[in-house]
Amino acid sequence: MPDSYGQHLRQTYVTIVRPKKHRLCNDKVSDKSSAWDMDTSPLPVKEGSYVAVATDRVSEYSDTSSTKKMPKKMIRNWEVFPGKNKFCCDGRIMMARNTGIFYFTCILIVVTCGLFFGFDCPYLAKNVTPAIPAFGIALFIFVMSTLFRTSFSDPGVIPRASPDEAADIERQIEVPNSTPGTYRPPPRTKEVVIKGQVVKLKYCFTCKIFRPPRASHCSLCDNCVERFDHHCPWVGNCVGRRNYRYFYLFILSLSILCIYIFACVLTHLILRSQEDNFLHAMRDSPASVIEAIICFFSVWSVVGLAGFHSYLVASEQTTNEDIKGSYSAKRGQENFNPFSQGSIFRNCLGVLCGPTPPSLIDSRGYVIPDSSQSQGVNTSTGKESNAVNVKHEYYGSTNNTKTNNVGTNTGSHVTGSNGTGPVMKQMISYQTPDGSINSRLPPTNGNSSAVAYKDSQQPHNVMYTEESEGGHWTSTRPHSNQGSKTQQQSFHT
């Protein structure tokens, strides 16, 4: 049928759509009667331009439910984020999964300061100076704001590789002597020379990327983080490139606050004890005693940590690098830190006042919902296997989205190490060094991609086609319900 053949062809064409047409495509969805009027030409229109991948695909499936009802609510990226993070306030806040200790930190600080402002400050304001509570309040606000900033912001998570990227990298680093059966790849590293120092870049099996220098994968959050310092349970988040300065300011200001409260409380008790004896002073103001105890035990760890991080800032290292001794002079070799700016002042300035990139994961950007697979073919479940939106909310000139569809998917972009979804028999599974089971595609020419029609108002149609040299995969092109189901069956066999 010429009509279906034309549609068949159209599905695989590039679309370069001007805004006018884009809006027209929008309009198409709402007016189904006009949909077919437009797309009766069988071949691409003219050289150099391409026929639109029609959104009227939707009506073709004779799935009346999807044509009649409006698309579901748009999903934001954070809802399908593959890492083990917790998002709040519709993606504005990003934390680790276990935040119990963070709440404890907050409560401890608030309670101690509350006791201080409630019981010590009135006496001190009256007897010494009102500047004491004023400074205390300012310091408390600064501590809490830096704490929240550290805890709630993206530490510098590197988004996971898209399926094509992962396939491309896999191809490049493939071990030539692959044995049949269980495939155990060696740990993959790449060496790069930075300012004369050899730095090893490791391949991350979860994120399917070669980690940039100084990046590390946090197993608690299951993300690769740039300039990874450590995962801090007290702030309930990783500390990385984007929030390290807030973390440092937090522990610095907290240590000042600790010392300040301790000093004020002692002053209070001593002043009181001048009127009476010390024991009576303590009895009259038990809150001060509690605060003193809390501060006394906290101050060692907090001030110690602040001192340690001051050293790290001055030497432009991360906790991770320091613990591993990557750039320690003790090694004997010509080890030096290639990231250091040269002087302590410049290092501090660079770490604390340098530019920070915006969040690369774009948690509040939108994802195209995966509605084409609702024909029954797709078994996409769970947010991890769903769409990966690559349209950044503010930046980027290209609008394209891809979807990882577990049902039709190769699984070459297995998120995390879940390996869920239908088992693809042609896949080779192997156990990675960290014990997780991953599946791996046989070598392909990397021509696997998904098309999602990028339009916010309409249900999109996702077609997932794959090609391989070995002929393992057949393409699935859902040009009709029956067709796709048949294809899908052949895909699995």
Partner: protein, 147 residues
């Protein structure tokens, strides 16, 4: 460029990738540290014949320059950070950081390059920010697939 209600940018071109284009990835060059920089030395073999290497090298070099400007440790960035700290980081709610401004500039540049240089040759650049600044993706657009 108006920002659409859903947050999409209405560019001059809204590109939707075809289902079967092959892709070339230009990876990051870490020889100067962690700064964002892409390899210019190796010209991908898949692009031989499609585009002259000088265009690609020029595009990548311009991108590298823009990114290095965003991440440079100069007094402008320091002042911006200090000012933000003094305003309790509320200034970040009001203004874009220098980095964000440069990223927008990069987006415009890539759109312009696509329009003038790449798409006429059957290629398309994907803004690296949409790939998490990991890689510069170049799609080889097919005109027919014979399916």
């Amino acid at each position: 460029m108006a920002v659409h209600q859903q947050g999409q940018k209405m560019d001059d071109m809204t590109r939707i990738l075809p289902s079967n284009c092959s892709k070339v990835f230009i990876q990051r060059d870490f020889s100067d540290g962690t700064a964002v920089k892409f390899h210019t030395k190796e010209f991908p073999t898949e692009l031989v014949g499609k585009i002259e290497d000088k265009y690609l090298v020029q595009t990548i070099t311009t991108l590298n320059t823009m990114y290095s400007e965003a991440e440079s440790l100069n007094s402008r960035n320091y002042c911006e950070s200090c000012f933000a700290c003094l305003t309790a980081y509320l200034s970040y709610l009001c203004f874009d950081t220098h980095y964000e401004k440069v990223l927008k500039k990069v987006g415009k540049y890539i759109a312009e390059q696509n329009q003038t240089v790449y798409v006429p040759r059957g290629l398309m650049l994907v803004d690296p920010v949409e790939r998490g600044l990991r890689t510069l993706e170049i799609c080889i657009l097919n005109e027919s697939n014979g399916r």
